[in-house]
Symmetry: D3
Subunit: 299 residues, 6 copies
């Protein structure tokens, strides 16, 4: 609904009860279509680290709860890069990066795990649970959820996904709960690894046969010209996406996200989306209205 997207927001107070009922009626086909479907949402550390973090998290939590309330099965996957950096700084530890990956020694791993599992994860769980006892925080180490291995010896305890066992997550979904997952995995030998959350989200969406995978980022989507908002690409097939990466139209930090989208749809996920998490309720707009936002990747 391109019109809708461009129209000025109306003052909510001016809406009649009848207007409101009409909007529920408009949402009806979407509610029915997505009923009982699993949707994996990657919620980026950047999305919540902005100036109005609190508001943004509050708004995100409401969106997740409403998905759950109308019968969908949302699963939240999160990272927390900025928050890890913050604690490292406080502890006087200097971050080192190779090819955009944080070199992770044992102490950094401990810090990352504490921040991801003990802070970011907790904050998301708490924000959701204000609406009822719904969210359950997990780490990939729980119940054998994410098996991992070292990505590259030089990076230390930076991991990559070896396999995902969705049993625990499925059990929680079956009870109507909302899993919130910190992306620490562990090796067969019990070694923990910090894993890129984008990659975990794609693997998990595949393992759960999710209908949708949504990346909530701090950009508006994939653009042909990264500086031109008008060049936003609304729809990409996996094949087209691959070509755009090869031809370097897609570049920089967008590459791994789009690659994760491609991986997910190749594993059977219905659709993968890159949305701007800074826009209030972008998730609801995407799922329940005709107004598609961001970029959608299809098989």
């Amino acid at each position: 609904m391109n019109d809708g997207e461009k129209s000025m927001p109306v003052d909510m107070k001016s809406l009649s009860a009848d207007n409101k009922a009409s909007i529920l009626i408009e949402a009806l086909p979407y509610i029915k279509r997505w009923s009982q479907k699993v949707v994996v949402i990657k919620y980026g550390g950047n999305a919540m680290a902005g100036s109005d973090e609190a508001n943004s998290l509050v708004s995100f939590a409401k969106d997740i709860v409403i998905l759950n309330a109308v019968g969908m099965k949302p699963v939240v996957v999160h990272g927390g890069g900025p928050q890890i950096g913050e604690l490292m700084e406080k502890l006087g530890k200097i971050p080192e990066f190779i090819d955009g990956h944080r070199v992770t020694d044992r102490e950094t791993l401990d810090i990352a795990r504490m921040v991801l599992v003990g802070k970011v994860n907790r904050d998301i769980v708490s924000a959701i649970n204000l609406h009822g006892p719904l969210a359950v925080g997990l780490s990939g180490e729980d119940g054998g959820l994410i098996k991992a291995e070292a990505k590259n010896a030089r990076l230390g305890y930076v991991g990559q996904v070896v396999s995902v066992d969705p049993t625990l997550v499925e059990g929680l979904l079956h009870q109507g709960l909302i899993p919130v997952i910190a992306t620490i995995g562990s090796s067969e030998g019990g070694q923990a690894y910090n894993i890129n959350a984008d990659a975990v989200a794609a693997s998990l969406a595949g393992a759960l046969n999710a209908e949708k995978l949504v990346y909530l980022t701090d950009v508006s989507g994939v653009r042909r010209d990264v500086d031109d908002p008008e060049s936003l690409i609304s729809l990409l097939s996996a094949t087209e996406a691959k070509e755009l990466i090869e031809s370097k139209v897609i570049s920089g930090g967008m590459v791994p996200k789009v690659e994760s989208c491609i991986e997910a749809v190749n594993k059977g996920v219905g659709r993968a989306h890159i949305l701007d998490g800074r826009v209030q309720h972008a998730l609801l707009v995407e799922i329940f209205t005709d107004g598609g936002v961001g970029t959608m990747v299809t098989p």
Copy 2:
């Protein structure tokens, strides 16, 4: 939300996607509160017999489907007085009434049953099933649902409820289906009776431990002064309602409806409502917004 009710409807096209998301967010507490709850809706023959019957039924069906889609368990009970009168007229049969009850000989009973079960019930089922295979039409004769007996020998086959066995209806609700019930009951000996739908709705709501019973009528609710729309009573306890009947403030056709409300809340139903079914989406407004409409009777 009295303000809301009085505010002018806004042109839907002028609403942004963001507005729409906000309204879902507003509906969230109601969706959660009524999740998995049974609500019995009496849909009156008059409500659908008006000039724009088709539109009204289409709109009603959407409301019912949305209740189902967001996790409630709606049960529809309907009458069909005007439609029965219509077929009797076509067949050259002259209706006779005693105290507002249609005297029902064997032929009239056959006509009533054909119209209620074979026409009105079917039309409601069809209207709902446009949205998916959801509605199942039932008569009180099915699976021993409504046991009935003669109300008064002079009235012939006009019945009153002896007992309700909700097993069949509960089974359908458990499968996520929407029962639509024509109010024919049968005696132990297998004799069919035509029963007042208001009374059946109250008994059924009690037997199902419904959270809500809603009468969709062609009036705006209970008024202190029947001619003064401003005298609408929004809230009545069962005790107050009884007093208003005794003091004849409530009179005429409103008496049996209010009595059914009292009976229902006495049997454990959470709340009973009298709404104006001619107002589009009155049901949704009542259930999902702060804008209460009509009259609510509480225990």
Copy 3:
């Protein structure tokens, strides 16, 4: 047991308790063999429209209840041509037929639906439910049971089966209930159609993986010479049946019935039968004794 069939009925009063026990013992292998098996019974409008309709329906209902009581899963499908004609006549509407199909305008459809769903279906349900809360009346419109489309534009709202969704019927069977089905179907767009009951019975038997499909008619079975009762054919393979139709040995109204039998066994139904519903308890005799009656079609 051809002997048995020809022997004179003995006065029931002269039977000793021991005789009765012996007959139960004789029925034992059949009871075991058909336990938990679905049998679809097409009960014709003619069968119940005869002079002693009431008695015949009473007797049919008992047969159905006993099938249920000994562990079978009977499903009743019925038509109601004569009864539709009757109401049309009362309403002064003149029936028109093309190739044996009733031309069905909107008004005729309404009449057919009222009669089938609101009268014939109800009468069968009531007759069965005298023995307990067992029967549940359904129309093909309920829960998406029968999807239909127009058979032929010239015939108006005469439909043919597009698909059958047996979920609702299976749910009721699972609860030990007896579905009684009026053969109104509906299109994707919600338009109702009146469908030939023989065809619906065959499609439904296929969809339910029924073990048996039984047509209760007003003839004794398929005859080589339609005027010679001695020429009754007891057993026909689907192939033989097709040849007899092609060679016009089978002709007239028997053709669609036999074609339905062929269709059913081709869809996996174990056996299809054409029995004389005017013979008391023909159904029980067929199922529980060695005395086969009528014509049986096998794959």
Copy 4:
């Protein structure tokens, strides 16, 4: 149906299929009434030890299978006094009795157990299983079914029931199987005891909340005058039965059977019966016809 009982059996061959159907129809109310109900049948060693043992067992097995086939849950309890005596004799062991109880030393216990569990139980199981894999033989030692203790030190390993744990039997009934129980019990310390089968049947019927307990004996029932067949008492309340024992109208071997009946109805069993097992199909006649036979004890 006293008339029926006195009427001469009719030659089965002379019965028409229609007659047979009528008899099923007559049995219908009984089939419905006893559906899913537990009935415990004590089958006496004498009943099967007669001249035509084989025939009698064959006939008994058919009766049990038909109860199972029409939806009842029969449980068989058996003794085997004559058969124990037989093997003792072959082994040259001289039986000794005190007050009608067989004095049971360790060797006698071994013999009793071998005969009851390894011969009588097996023969009954085999006879039933000719009709399908239905019967499962149990001893009271299996799964803690019957806890026992010594009845009287002088009697040796003659036991009395301490408690019954019906879990195992209920599990088999739930799977549609027919438990056949030899009345060996065991003490907490693992000592086996031979227990009177009449007493076990009463205790088990109580523990299973059986609807009926039936003793199949070699007498026609309780008589006021033991030598006068005309003095048979058809119906006894528990109170009356107690009085008849006290006033010695009931005496001898009939006393423990009637006492077991009284115990059973006091424990909640609906009805207890003493039938003549030598009469073919006495069990079926009792359960499925109006012709009550033998003596019925009610609470």
Copy 5:
């Protein structure tokens, strides 16, 4: 753990609680590995017929109970040759053997059945049930467990397995019970047969998809030189075993046992073992320690 096996048993009293805990810790990987796995144990008549039969049975029962307690699903199959011979002798009946099979006339069959089902089976059940209501004795005749036919006309009622229906056994295992099975089978026509217990154990292990089949015998395992204990073969593939039989290294009574092992692993059983049942707790040592004993046959 060959060392362990050779080390002198330490006086249990001298073990500290800490030692004991350590041993549980050592057993942990085995407990986890075999959890919920079915193991079929053939318990030979010879094993229990020795001089200290009572002790041996007591010890065997404890082993079985501990397998059950830590989550395995043990199934016991037993023979009883010596015990059958004993009763035959007491009854003055002279055994006759052809090729090592007991010629079994009707009387011998009765004796075998009484001894196996009514004595040996009972003794095992009782010994286990001292530890709780766990064991349930079965014969192959129960619930259609073992279908059999005559092995050889000259042998009379000596049977061989035609098929095994594991439904009944699986039902008991599912309830956490321990089936103890006497190896009487029955033909379609209901004739009982006495079957070799080694063969039944192999067939049953196959039908149950058992993880392990264990023969508890009175030898230490398969030896290259039957007189040299040092020549014990610890591990044999099915192929090697076959070759050793063909080359007559394996001979005499060991042949049918090894053949049963081969048959079992060919039917999908994980491993088959021949252990010395005279060694206390050989079963536990085999399953829960590194100290393998006896001979293991693998696919």
Copy 6:
């Protein structure tokens, strides 16, 4: 088994397989007794903070896994005082205590939560999951597990338990998983609180109807004279325990632990234990041997 406790540990290598089997046999009655029973184990921060922390945690994890493997349902509750102190120190934050409680400002709360949920909890989960995908880490904030409120305004975010909702934990136990719980709770308004782990363990044990509550501490149990190891009290009733607190025999840090024990048994927990977690496998010794260690409090 006091003797056992004092006897010298024997070199494990000197134990024969037979010895090992005997020890399993000795454990059998305990395995059976505690099968399917819930045991809540409080694992203290001190217990794992010692010099050989790693070893101790490895040993503790094995104990927990073995409880799970033999059919018990262990739930681990942990604190982490020393570890919190450590991170505070690194961050240059000076701890302040009032009456032994750490004054907890917002920053301290964040630190505590990161350490408990993101470090200590993770370490325990990892140690257990080396043995399979068994442990799932939870915080009291997950799924509404622990509702808390401020204990005392001066202490800041130090909480006390308001209520425990065991649903989530029960769900995990039902799937055979091992919940490991960090003792952060949250208020209705979503505020997190750090709660004393001893108190949480007692409340949780009560809410789960646990059979046992075990405190693994760094003392050997309750002593009459805190300096005299010989004065250890093995057994205390709740009443006696209360008296000893009142008479100040129990004092210092032992008071809250014993109070928690009293609270737990008053809430229906079978037994509460205070054990020395520094002793290897104290948990196994307590549960599976006759050698009781530490102090047991009974109702």
